[in-house]
C-alpha cells in the first residue's frame, strides 16, 4: 500500500479536468491508434463480401456477420497445413535454441572460463546481425545442403537469431541467482551438471519461460527466411502463405486475407495473454542489460 502511494508521487495534486486533458485523452487517442487496425481486421474477417464492397451504410459495423471467409480459408486453401508447419518449426527451433542457450549462458556467466567475457559480447553482437543481410548466403547454403523447400531449412536457420537472444536473456537471469547457492553445492560435492540441473535451472524457470515465449513469437513472426527457402505451397508458414497464396492477381479477397491474418495472430496473442509478465520481462530484460 505504501508502495502504491509512493508510486503515485505528487500527481494527486492535479485537478480532475486537468488530468483528463493531460492523461486520459492522449491515452485514449493512443489506444485508438494502436488498436484500430485490430478492430478493422476482426470486423473485415466476419463481413460478407456484399457489405465489404458497398460504399453506403456504416462501414464500422456488420449487418449480417458471416463465417464464409474462414470456411474458404480452411477448405479452399492450404491454410491448415501452413499453421501446422509454423507450429512445428516454431516449437522445434525454440526448444533447440533454448537448450543450446542454457548451456552457453551458464558457461559464459558462471563458469567464467578464459575468454567468456569476449564470448558474451560476441553473443550480443550476433543478436544485432539482421536476417536481411544473411538470407542470400544462407539461401545458397540451404540449396547446397539439399534442404531447400523443407522445414529443416527453417528449423536450422531460426536459431541464428533465437540463440543470441535467449543466451543474452538467460545470462542476465543467471546473474541474478546468488553465487553462494552454487558454492554450497560445490562444497557438498555436486558436479557442475548437478548444479545446473538441480539448482540453477529450477531457479531460472521464469527466465526460461520468458526466453521461450519470446523465441516462439520471434520464430512465428519470421518472414524473410521462410519466403526465400520455401517454395511449395504445402511447406509454407502462415505469414508467407497468406501473402503469396491468398492474393490472386488484382482481385483481393480482403475477407479471407483478414481472416487469415486474424487466425495466424491468435496463437501468439493467446500465448501472450497468458504470459504477459514474462513477455514484458523478457523484452525489457534484453534491452536493459
Amino acid at each position: 500500500m505504501a508502495d502504491k502511494e509512493q508510486r503515485e508521487g505528487m500527481h494527486y495534486l492535479e485537478s480532475l479536468p486537468r488530468r483528463w486533458v493531460t492523461v486520459y485523452i492522449p491515452l485514449l487517442l493512443f489506444l485508438f491508434f494502436l488498436l484500430f487496425p485490430f478492430y478493422w481486421m476482426g470486423l473485415t474477417a466476419f463481413k460478407p463480401n456484399s457489405e465489404l464492397l458497398s460504399s453506403d451504410g456504416n462501414p464500422f459495423w456488420i449487418v449480417e456477420p458471416t463465417l464464409d471467409h474462414f470456411k474458404k480459408l480452411f477448405v479452399d486453401t492450404s491454410y491448415p497445413e501452413w499453421m501446422w508447419n509454423t507450429v512445428i518449426v516454431s516449437v522445434v527451433s525454440t526448444f533447440v535454441s533454448l537448450a543450446a542457450s542454457v548451456f552457453a549462458a551458464y558457461a559464459i556467466e558462471r563458469l567464467r572460463f578464459k575468454g567468456s567475457r569476449q564470448l558474451g559480447l560476441a553473443i550480443f553482437l550476433a543478436y544485432l546481425v539482421p536476417p536481411s543481410i544473411l538470407f542470400i548466403p544462407l539461401a545458397t547454403m540451404v540449396f547446397q545442403l539439399g534442404m531447400f523447400d523443407s522445414r529443416w531449412a527453417l528449423i536450422l536457420t531460426y536459431p541464428t537469431f533465437l540463440i543470441p537472444f535467449c543466451t543474452w536473456l538467460l545470462m542476465g537471469y543467471f546473474r541474478s541467482i546468488p553465487f553462494e547457492l552454487e558454492e554450497c553445492a560445490l562444497i557438498d560435492g555436486a558436479t557442475r551438471w548437478q548444479i545446473l540441473t538441480r539448482i540453477v535451472l529450477p531457479l531460472a524457470v521464469p527466465g526460461l519461460i520468458s526466453a521461450g515465449i519470446f523465441a516462439f513469437t520471434l520464430s512465428w513472426n519470421e518472414f524473410i527466411y521462410a519466403l526465400t527457402f520455401i517454395s511449395a505451397s504445402e511447406n509454407k508458414t502462415v505469414p508467407v502463405g497468406v501473402i503469396t497464396e491468398l492474393v490472386e492477381g488484382d482481385v483481393y479477397h480482403w475477407g479471407s486475407l483478414m481472416a487469415g491474418a486474424l487466425v495466424g495472430s491468435l496463437p501468439v496473442a493467446v500465448m501472450y495473454s497468458f504470459f504477459v509478465e514474462y513477455y514484458v520481462a523478457g523484452m525489457t530484460g534484453a534491452v536493459k542489460e
Binding site: 559464459i108 536481411s132 542470400i136 513472426n221
Partner: protein
C-alpha cells in the same frame, strides 16, 4: 557423506592407479570436467556450432558473394568491385539508400517521441494499469506480416476506411491513393512502422521510468521546478542510458526492415519505398542476381556497425554515470 569422496578421489587416486588403465582414464575425464575452461568449451559447443555454421560463415560468405557474379544455380567468379561500381551508377540503388535513411530517421524520431510520451502516460497512476500495458504491446507481438496486411487493407485505394472517414468529415473530396504516390506511400509505410514500433519503445522506456525514484521529483518540486524542468532535468538524464539502447535497437530493426515494405508496396511506386533490404531481396531472389543482392546487403554493414558502436558507447556511459552502484 558424499562430500568427502570427491576431493580424495581427484587428488590421491591418479597417483596410485596410474598403471591400471580404465579408472585413471575416468579420473582424468572427471578432472577435466572440473576444469572450467574445458567444461566451458563443452557447454558452449552446441550454441557455438550452430552460430558458427549458420551465422558467422554466411556473414563471410555474403561479403564474398558481393565480390562475385553469382547467379541462382550458378557459382560466381571473383569480379572485384564490379558489383559496387555498377551499383554506384545505379539510380535505383542510390534512391534505396536515400529511402532507407529517410525511413529510418523519420520513423525512429516519431517512434521515440510517441513512445516516450506513451511511457510517461502509462507511468501515471491509472486504473487497469497492467491491463493497459498488456493491450498496448499487442501491435508488437502480432506477426508483422499479418498486421501489415491489415494496413494494406486500410490503405486500399478504393475501399480505404480512412478515406471514407475523411470524406464523410468533409476534409477531402477524393479517396486518397495511399500507396500509389511516392511521398504518400513513404508516409504510409512510415506510419505503419511507427504503429508497430511505438509499443516496444514505450514499454522499454516505461521499465526504465519505473526505476526512477519519486523522491527525486518531490525534491525537484520543492526546489520550484516546473513540470517541464522536472522532465528535462530529472526524467531525461535518468533515462538516457536506456534510451540509447532502446533507440539503437529500434534504429537497427528499422534500417534493416523488410517485411512491412514487402507486404505493403514491394518497393513501389516507381521504387519510392525501396529500402536496401527489399532491393537486395528483389535483385537476388526473384531477379536471380545473387552477387548483386549480396553486394547491396553488404553495403548495409558499415551503417549497422556505426549504430552498434553508438550503442556500445551508450552502454559505456552508463557505468560512470551511475558510479558503479548499478549492479
Amino acid at each position: 557423506m558424499c562430500w568427502i569422496e570427491k576431493p580424495v578421489c581427484s587428488t590421491l587416486k591418479p597417483v596410485n592407479g596410474s598403471d591400471s588403465g580404465n579408472p585413471s582414464v575416468s579420473k582424468l575425464i572427471s578432472r577435466w570436467l572440473d576444469n572450467r575452461n574445458v567444461l566451458g568449451l563443452l557447454f558452449m559447443l552446441p550454441a557455438a556450432a550452430i552460430l558458427l555454421v549458420f551465422l558467422t560463415y554466411p556473414l563471410g560468405l555474403g561479403v564474398w558473394l558481393g565480390f562475385t557474379d553469382a547467379k541462382v544455380g550458378r557459382d560466381g567468379v571473383w569480379i572485384g568491385f564490379e558489383n559496387y561500381e555498377w551499383l554506384w551508377e545505379d539510380s535505383v540503388f542510390r534512391l534505396s539508400i536515400f529511402n532507407t535513411f529517410l525511413y529510418t530517421l523519420v520513423a525512429s524520431v516519431i517512434k521515440f517521441v510517441l513512445g516516450l510520451w506513451l511511457a510517461l502516460l502509462l507511468n501515471r497512476h491509472l486504473p487497469f494499469k497492467s491491463f493497459l500495458r498488456a493491450i498496448v504491446l499487442l501491435p508488437f507481438i502480432v506477426p508483422t506480416v499479418l498486421s501489415a496486411i491489415a494496413f494494406w487493407w486500410l490503405y486500399d485505394a478504393q475501399f480505404s476506411v480512412l478515406s471514407w472517414a475523411l470524406v464523410k468529415l468533409g476534409l477531402i473530396d477524393e479517396y486518397i491513393n495511399f500507396l500509389g504516390e511516392p511521398n504518400l506511400a513513404r508516409a504510409s509505410t512510415i506510419a505503419a512502422n511507427v504503429w508497430r514500433g511505438v509499443p516496444f519503445v514505450a514499454i522499454c522506456l516505461l521499465a526504465g521510468l519505473q526505476t526512477v525514484s519519486p523522491a527525486l521529483y518531490e525534491a525537484a518540486a520543492i526546489d520550484g521546478a516546473t513540470p517541464w524542468q522536472q522532465f528535462r532535468n530529472v526524467t531525461l538524464p535518468m533515462l538516457s542510458p536506456i534510451i540509447a539502447v532502446v533507440m539503437t535497437f529500434s534504429v537497427l530493426f528499422t534500417f534493416t526492415d523488410f517485411q512491412l515494405i514487402w507486404v505493403l508496396t514491394r518497393g513501389g511506386p516507381i521504387n519510392a519505398t525501396h529500402l536496401m533490404a527489399t532491393l537486395s531481396f528483389q535483385r537476388a531472389i526473384p531477379g536471380g542476381a545473387l552477387g548483386e543482392g549480396a553486394a547491396i546487403a553488404t553495403a548495409m554493414i558499415p551503417f549497422l556497425l556505426a549504430a552498434i558502436l553508438f550503442s556500445y558507447f551508450g552502454l559505456q556511459r552508463r557505468k560512470w554515470q551511475q558510479g558503479g552502484a548499478d549492479k
